[in-house]
Symmetry: C2
Subunit: 310 residues, 2 copies
């Protein structure tokens, strides 16, 4: 049984501003890992992609010739080699067949494609999340998946096929509003609030049935502090509650009444979304975001390479 822990491939999640590499066993177990801030933006502007990959391969002592499977922004037009978007509706189980080969000597390196919703009324794209999705759900899964983050994705899946998805700039809106608008005077940076934070809860409740309430409530964060109703320390929870609450209300408007949902998240933000979604009536199954991407890479790698060696 020693073969179970033998390195089978290398998986890489190459984001806009982050790089994560795992030496992986065939069953998806990580044997070693290496990570840094050398994301696409770094590589595009200084020295390229291959030196970064080589450095991290050496870091985990990846055997010569071991294949590498990459997901994320390395496949963007401004990335290493473009892995053109696959269009919805698209079966997650076929993702591997659309991976693009990186023309380098001595190693089979492939990049998984992103997914595009090519609809004039709701154009959308994802890169990286498709691999998390593949790793989060069983073959043939039907249901909704929520993926919180800078640009939260809500994905409707039918029989293992992505049929529709929406993106909410919730995390980025929190950041730009709290740093660059008048609310910079009313919001302190910090970790996400807990769901038991009464300011957060009140904000969630305020927008529960009508996301539009959030639009006029934003300025009230500032006004409420000027008038002594709230302290600056509460501003972040208030803003976070309005934005996350509005996202969930908007998602209900798009996808209908709450039902089962898979939440791909981690850390404090993952826990917060779990509580918010449960409170909103969803039955939530949580998948750790990093496990999801590793599992997705492993599933795709198995389909690409494992049968070649048997």
């Amino acid at each position: 049984m020693s073969g179970l822990s033998e390195a089978s491939f290398v998986g890489v999640d190459w984001g806009t501003s982050s790089f994560r590499l795992w030496l992986m066993a065939a069953d998806g177990m990580p044997l070693a890992s290496s990570r840094s801030g050398e994301g696409m933006l770094h590589c595009s502007s200084s020295g390229g992609f291959q030196p970064v990959l080589d450095k991290h391969l050496a870091e985990v002592r990846a055997p010569e010739g071991l294949p590498v499977l990459i997901c994320g922004m390395a496949g963007a037009r401004q990335g290493w080699v473009e892995a053109a978007y696959v269009h919805t509706p698209t079966a997650l189980g076929d993702l591997h067949s659309r991976a693009i080969s990186v023309p380098v000597e001595g190693r089979d390196i492939r990049i998984l494609p992103g997914i595009a919703q090519v609809l004039a009324e709701a154009p959308n794209v994802m890169r990286g999340e498709e691999t998390q999705l593949l790793g989060s759900i069983a073959d043939g899964f039907t249901g909704l998946v929520c993926m919180p983050g800078t640009h939260c994705k809500w994905v409707a899946i039918d029989g293992g096929t992505i049929v529709r998805f929406a993106s909410f700039m919730t995390g980025e809106l929190f950041s730009v509003i709290s740093k660059h608008s008048i609310l910079m005077h009313a919001v302190e940076e910090g970790a996400p609030p807990g769901f038991d934070d009464p300011t957060f809860r009140a904000a969630i409740d305020a927008v529960r049935d009508d996301a539009s309430v959030a639009l006029s409530a934003l300025f009230s964060i500032r006004a409420g502090q000027l008038l002594g109703f709230e302290k600056k320390a509460e501003g972040a929870a208030h803003l976070s509650g309005l934005l996350i609450g509005a996202e969930v209300a908007a998602a209900k408007s798009l996808y209908g009444a709450p039902s089962d949902i898979v939440l791909v998240g981690s850390g404090a933000l993952g826990s917060l979304y779990e509580a918010v979604l449960t409170d909103a009536g969803y039955r939530v199954r949580v998948v750790d975001a990093e496990e999801a991407v590793r599992n997705g890479l492993a599933k795709a790698a198995a389909r690409l390479w494992v049968k070649d060696r048997t």
Copy 2:
């Protein structure tokens, strides 16, 4: 009848980052004006308020001893002298009686107060808009007033009394999203779009019945350009349409079905709001924003000083 054009007082609209002064006849006619970027922020950080006022008074050759009435941020806590907020519900006709005197020798200088909505569930403040309101409506007016800008105000007035108001950060959201989020790659700066711009119209239509649509549509501005549905030159009209459309949808949710409305606006943005509100079903009466503040200052000044001289 020569007295009609005699200087009766000086009116000042002292904003956060702008200063506008008029030498005014008793009937509200401006006889001379002077303006600059010496708003509250400038004065608080360098040299104070009085030298700026004195310079502009000299500029229009204001007669010695002529009284000065100021509205706006000069009355904020961080301004010249704080003119404490008057609380809603408040009669606009009584605004002058709550003006605060600035203790300087040789001239009667007063600052009109802002207005606060001291409600825990919808705290709000305005400074400067109250004077525009006074100048925009007849005594005893009942109805809705929309005041577009960085922080748009929607004000419900009953018999000349402000009963309720809401603020939308529409202008500021446009600015921070287009400058600091991923949409910086998708939105070019420029003048507001025209109402006949098809991209703007499509965005307005998309959020007409559900402001929450704007939340997922934001990211689609970027995705739509990546997928070739839209050009970067259309991004500003798209973003503007989503934000203004969502504001109007949210206002309808707050204030009920469209009816008569007074729009205090000017320039391209005023024209745009006029068209959007008309299209949304409102019967719009437009008041020029600068005329509104001058008229408001004149009405308050007449109540403060004209009777003293007869």
